[in-house]
């Protein structure tokens, strides 16, 4: 079900010549390939990508645990890393939701914080809404599923854009899985604080994805995928998730290219 939410209506700029990439802490130390793939993909669109070496984490883990001051200290350190007035492309809906929708309140004493938040774009949102990208699919025909994170879906309102990108790939069939809009059960510290509930949720989500009869699923959020892939691997299933940046890069590369 699609919900039209006025909070998601926003102004999209013209295609920029430069952007920042926000890699997120999870990608930094666990899944850096996705970060490199996102940068490579953007560069192929003729965009110069800045990756500030001072970036760390958006502050969400502390914020969601109720430790607002600690979250604020970390959030402030992030804002300082992105001085140029160019878009900040973020390869996670969840961290994007934090920076776009929670920073205004968390950093309400920072002058012009809204202007910073207005520069935050989730990766798939940026490709569709700002670049108006047209993809050329060079891959084999296959079926994939899409997992959109809850933050992308409900906070950022960008669950549509992931699907739009996959549908542009002419050899890829996008398969809907059961309870597609339901949470995978990650929720950051929730998966630890209420591990048994989280376990029940991720077991259902991984089963539903597995039943969809796809060779892979894609997502723009490594938080969800670390959770779901971990469950699939534990269950000794072959299905795995792949970050949409890596998937799009692979599908659009000319055949024979590495």
């Amino acid at each position: 079900m699609t919900t039209i939410n006025t909070q998601h209506l926003r102004y999209y700029p013209q295609k920029p010549s430069e952007v920042y990439l926000y890699g997120t802490c999870l990608v930094d130390s666990f899944f850096p390939n996705s970060g490199i793939d996102a940068i490579t993909f953007l560069e192929k669109q003729g965009i110069k990508v800045h990756y500030p070496q001072g970036q760390t984490c958006c502050g969400q883990p502390a914020y969601n645990s109720g430790y607002k001051e600690e979250a604020k200290a970390v959030a402030l350190a992030q804002v300082a890393q992105f001085p140029l007035d160019i878009p900040i492309v973020i390869i996670s809906g969840s961290c994007g939701g934090m920076m776009r929708h929670h920073y205004p309140e968390l950093l309400d004493d920072v002058p012009e914080i809204q202007a910073f938040c207005d520069r935050i774009f989730e990766f798939t949102e940026f490709l569709v809404q700002v670049l108006n990208i047209q993809l050329t699919d060079n891959g084999q025909s296959e079926k994939v599923a899409l997992h959109t994170s809850c933050a992308a879906r409900r906070e950022m309102g960008v669950h549509i854009t992931g699907g739009k990108l996959i549908k542009q790939l002419k050899n890829v069939e996008l398969i809907t899985h059961e309870n597609e809009s339901e949470c995978c059960g990650f929720g950051g510290t929730f998966s630890v604080k209420h591990g048994d509930i989280s376990a029940a949720m991720v077991n259902d989500k991984s089963n539903n994805l597995d039943k969809a009869g796809v060779v892979r699923y894609v997502s723009a959020d490594w938080g969800c995928m670390m959770n779901i892939n971990g469950a699939l691997e534990y269950q000794k299933k072959s299905l795995r998730g792949e970050h949409i940046a890596s998937y799009l890069l692979k599908r659009t590369q000319a055949q024979g290219a590495s």
Binding site: P32, V74, R154, F190
Partner: protein, 488 residues
Amino acid sequence: MSAHQVTPNESKYAASARNFRNNVARDLNNAELRENFHGAMHYLRDKRSAAFPQQDELETLREQCKLIKQRCLAKLPYLLEQLEENLTSNGIKVHWAESTSQANDIIATLIEEKSGSQVVKGKSMVSEETALNDFLEQRNIECLESDMGEYIVQLAKEHPSHIIMPAIHQNKKQVADLFKQNISDFSYTTDVDELINVGRNILRDKFCQADVGVTGVNFAVAETGTLCLVENEGNGQMCTTVPPLHIAITGIEKVVEMLDDVPPLLSLLTRSATGQIMSTYFNMISHPRQIGEKDGAQEVHLVLLDNGRSQAFADEELRQTLQCIRCGACMNHCPVYTRIGGHAYGTVYPGPIGQIVSPHMLGLEPTKDLPTASSLCGACGEVCPVKIPIPKLLLRLRQESVKKQDGNSQVMKGEGVGRSNIEAMVWKAWAGVHRHSSIYNFSMWWLTRLRKLMPSKLGVWTSVRTAPKPAAKTLHERVKKHQSSGAK
């Protein structure tokens, strides 16, 4: 099911909420219960979805109803006085109860003044809040639930597991077995219509015998002094028109300013709750039976309960909790509720709304596990008909729960109870690392170099998942190399 049996004392919900983690473990492992909730919640989601074919209309109506409730809450003290004034001039007596025990005392006294001994009750979650049935039983007053779901729950000596569908945790076979155990001349059937008829025949006699009808209220209209009651079984109408004494009980947040506020709220309530365009019955009670009228109670009373609501009211953000019109859509769409069911919460109100309202009723101490029992997926906030930002309020309650006590003004009873020195230190250290990129980069460099030492068991995480492995090099390092080699 004996775990849900009630013991008549004021803090029974506090005790069961405190037991949340054990309740969850118990109910997650009950396959039949999981299946009952899974089936019912998906049914209700589909019904709601079908009742809102036009997204634009839904969003317009949600915005309108949010504004109605916010306007009424902004004027709450004034509207409550106006409500009392107009009800009184209509001949309906108003009583104020700050606590659940005060509410019970008021109701018992009213019944005893009329020498009443038999009560029929329409569905009322506020009377569950006060544990009225237990209280009246102690005073030797029989109180029979007349809503079919509530009747089943009462027969099973349980609590409602859902605010709209009290017996949704039971399937038809379980209900048939329950009837077999408790109803002497019951001829066994699992046919839903036949089961309902069995209950109805028993209730029909009780309506005629009862001295008192007790019901809840969905909307109390200040402008006209009218009590509105939404129901589907006609039992609410029976409770309010047949017995000579009608006592309504509700929370103070149910007041609306004017009659014009009711239609949009009603339209959203029934569609959000059960997917009905309109409930089967909608009762409006404006006065006791008047001369020449053939039915209606001769005496009508309204008990207005606070029970922690004014604590929520006092804080502008937390006040949004009181916008709730009790449709239950948040539970129907909640992935946590769908899996653990309504009883696990241990509170009167389960699910997302229960997680944000119960801490005001019981304090944060017994309910401290509730605000964290959410992945903050946002499904509740997305469907809430009055746009309560439930995930945001859960976050706020988490903040209140771990707040450092400085002796200054208190926002909530029990604030700070969730704070542990160890957790506070961990987050302080975490912030120390993540606010200084040099320390962060140094830490991540070591994390990736020591990846082989990463344990394969990570507590509860690896009970159903494998442990994630750090990469060989961080993105920070990889980007440096990528940039120095020149982009392809």
